[in-house]
Symmetry: C2
């Protein structure tokens, strides 16, 4: 078997390569809900079967249809992401769209209010899944699986308020890769960061950096700064906003809303402005306050080992130890990371901001929350922010006016003659049965020009033309749409000739 991921890389490069290498700026914050959809209001000319209240034809708030053009882009990107997951030996898993409501409680901290619940129609109380991590942990606990490397591509649902976070959808696709099991420290963690690098480099989205931190370093930092333990989660959530709002605003939230003493907030402020490489880890080891905290030292020790492995993987220069990285979700227990695209000066000018495009971390206690006896299965994983990546690529293609083929049709069956439907139907069945992708117009007597225009519009490369004269001579004409050249071929050689042409192109 040829190297799967690589094959797709080449397909990808040939389709999107030129566009993706372009440094042009794109602002994805301009993506609004439903802007592309006609919202038609039902008027008074209602048919009897439509006697409902006036309604608007639309998709639910925060959701959208994915058009064939968008699907093509998505499939290319997902093929590449999945190719990378397979390159690292992952199995594929799928879980239901909804879970028992109680499975999702106490897992998402402040975000729990964004969970979609199903109506109580009798029976169990259900909620749509909010991410793919909690269902994975539930799966491991339910089936008593102690070790597993799996990926999962699927939709998740969050009742985000569109006015707060522009451009975010309430239904979106996630691509997760996770390694569950008790292993020697930091080897799976380093592989997760390697995977993020491979995917982001492979997609040629521009330069990026991966911020890394550790929940234990954060907790240790909170402790030595004087944050009461009961406020760790709340303060962690505030710190997590540092990539979206300024330190001043975060400080205000911590002091005014979360009741933190101002001097404690200021001590935190000194730390969260630090970022760097291995030398910053060494510096923190020497930090007079932090070095007194056992948890912080454990975290720093693991981060040091992690950087050792990242150097062996050749990706250390992409990684930044960043004390401001917090990650909002409650379930993380160790190393955490988040990849961001770096702005070019031109992008900064156009206030280009895509935020995080991949993220993850270690969650060693989540499986234990589901296990009847509390047995833990340590886990580490990552999630690729494919929706943001889709937006970036779609916007770039739009900017460059690139036309995307939404079908893969190879051959069109045409005729210049009237009353030739029967011959066309027999011929196209022969092509389909030979595995050739073929189309014809669903008309008894279409005009030849209409048929040829259709091929040009749809990017179909070959046309088979059959008429009375050809029938008599036992031949068929094969036309190249690009060159407009036509050759006559013996009827019985048609399939072989088409297959030869297609394998050459």
């Amino acid at each position: 078997m040829p190297p799967f991921g690589f094959l797709h890389m080449r397909v990808w490069a040939s389709l999107f390569g030129r566009l993706l290498r372009s440094p042009r700026a794109v602002c994805i914050r301009e993506v609004h809900f439903h802007s592309q959809f006609a919202e038609a209001v039902l008027t008074s000319q209602l048919k009897p079967q439509q006697e409902k209240s006036n309604f608007i034809i639309k998709t639910p708030k925060g959701t959208r249809d994915i058009s064939p053009q968008q699907m093509v882009v998505r499939e290319k990107i997902l093929d590449m992401v999945v190719g990378c997951f397979k390159r690292h030996g992952a199995k594929r898993l799928d879980t239901p769209a909804f879970e028992l409501k109680e499975m999702l409680t106490e897992k998402y901290g402040e975000d729990s209010g964004l969970i979609y619940d199903l109506k109580d129609q009798g029976g169990e109380l259900l909620s749509l899944r909010y991410d793919l991590t909690v269902p994975f942990a539930r799966y491991l606990a339910m089936n008593k699986v102690k070790k597993m490397k799996r990926y999962h591509v699927g939709k998740v649902w969050r009742r985000e308020s569109p006015t707060i976070v522009q451009g975010r959808y309430r239904e979106f696709c996630q691509c997760d890769f996770d390694i569950a099991g008790q292993f020697d420290p930091m080897i799976p963690d380093a592989e997760c960061l390697k995977i993020m690098c491979e995917i982001l480099s492979g997609l040629q989205l521009g330069d990026f950096i991966i911020k890394v931190n550790d929940r234990r370093v954060l907790d240790g930092m909170f402790a030595v700064c004087g944050v009461p333990e009961s406020k760790f989660h709340a303060i962690c959530s505030s710190i997590d906003k540092l990539d979206k709002i300024s330190w001043k605003d975060v400080r205000h939230e911590m002091v005014a809303k979360k009741g933190l003493a101002p001097e404690v907030a200021d001590r935190i402020g000194d730390y969260v402005q630090c970022h760097g490489g291995v030398s910053l880890i060494e510096q923190m080891f020497q930090d007079p306050r932090l070095s007194q905290n056992k948890q912080a030292l454990d975290g720093l020790g693991d981060l040091k080992l992690l950087f050792e492995y990242l150097t062996l993987f050749g990706i250390a220069e992409k990684i930044s130890f960043d004390l401001s990285l917090a990650r909002g979700l409650d379930y993380y227990t160790g190393v955490i990371y988040e990849a961001v695209l770096l702005q070019t000066p031109a992008q900064a000018q156009e206030s280009f901001n895509v935020g995080s495009v991949a993220a993850g971390g270690r969650y060693d206690k989540l499986v234990g929350m589901f296990d009847p006896k509390g047995h833990k299965v340590p886990c580490v994983g990552l999630s690729i922010g494919v929706e943001r990546i889709f937006s970036i690529v779609e916007q770039r293609m739009k900017t460059f006016g690139q036309k995307i083929r939404t079908t893969e049709t190879q051959v069109f069956v045409a005729t210049p003659q009237k009353n030739f439907l029967h011959e066309r139907l027999k011929l196209i069945a022969e092509l389909w049965d030979a595995g050739i992708k073929a189309e014809l117009l669903y008309k008894n007597n279409p005009k030849l020009l209409t048929q040829l225009h259709y091929c040009e519009d749809m990017g179909i490369p070959l046309v088979v033309i059959i008429g009375e004269q050809e029938m008599k001579e036992g031949i068929i004409k094969l036309r190249s749409v690009a060159s407009r050249e036509e050759v006559a071929i013996k009827r019985e050689n048609l399939v072989a000739e088409i297959q030869k042409r297609l394998s050459e192109s």
Copy 2:
């Protein structure tokens, strides 16, 4: 580009060919919910974070996780189905998992009670989609699309009562292909039947037949038998049950529950026992009662034309005109069809019954129900019952004890030496970067035997072995897991040699 569908056919054949050609019987009715899952009840040894009521770790009623083994089977089958849809020129579309509740009302007749509603959490009232057809019609109307050939692979949700219909899940995958647009009669309809034949033949599930009827023939039949027009839909639903329950029971339902006169029911009984080919269509044209009904004649005329095209496609012998075929859904307006697998005598003995494996029909008024001005877009389509197909193939593989590889890993990086983690990490990164699918054990000092056993268990074909001696000599050992042969290769030639070996296999 090589013929896509064909390539996959070959992959498929090599994996499942032998199994699928076997005539062994399998009873999918034995698939019960959750039987494979441990249902662990939380005991009293709860951790502080688990202070909830005792709960069972499970997936919601009627749903299940899809294991990696199942995912491999599913992906092969879906690749083949999608390959066929693409061979016929379809574009891919996706729609949200939920729709505005009002979009789904008055579309599903008696089945509407099975729709999952979302909880009213403020804002719009939403329901999970029940099929992929209604969202497609909503998409066409919303975007004023008059012509489109699309496919859609996605989950749908129905609150089926598992006690009534054994083996059905409440969450399941659908694969739909539809042609929307005003065309000359029966050409797209014939293509839909051709697609069903290509897929069912390609999957080698055994012999099958496609029953065909027309809603207008049914309505005409009801009219001439004396069914009041207000009861057409209700009687249609009863007739639809004829493949599951006997005529006696259907007759009882129509008379006792739906208030039909017994003599009317008996007249219907005479018709619904008829099935055959073109000659039956001719016979019905001559039927003294049916030939008086305009609707019935329209339907029969179209069916005659359809058979003409099916003959040209070479599939007429797979099609049976069957007056008992009704299809439960309200939205069909013309030709309807349903494919069923035929039992071998052995299967009949084991009461093998898989019911319908593909179905569809013409629905010319559904889009108009969404359009503000009632503009119609005629549509015809089909849905492949992939869940039943998955079950059949999974059961067959289980019967034959076939082991499925759930990963695609090509090379394993091993060492017989202690303290060789750094070398292994450097080496595996080199393989990943070359697009090679590679794994190692996440241990500092794994035993060589453990490493080699892992390869055998997982079906990994090649092992790269690195140790102190090899390091000194600048070589590396490449081992074939199957033959246990080892060869020494220059370190710098490793990637090229692996790629050569993989391309040969």
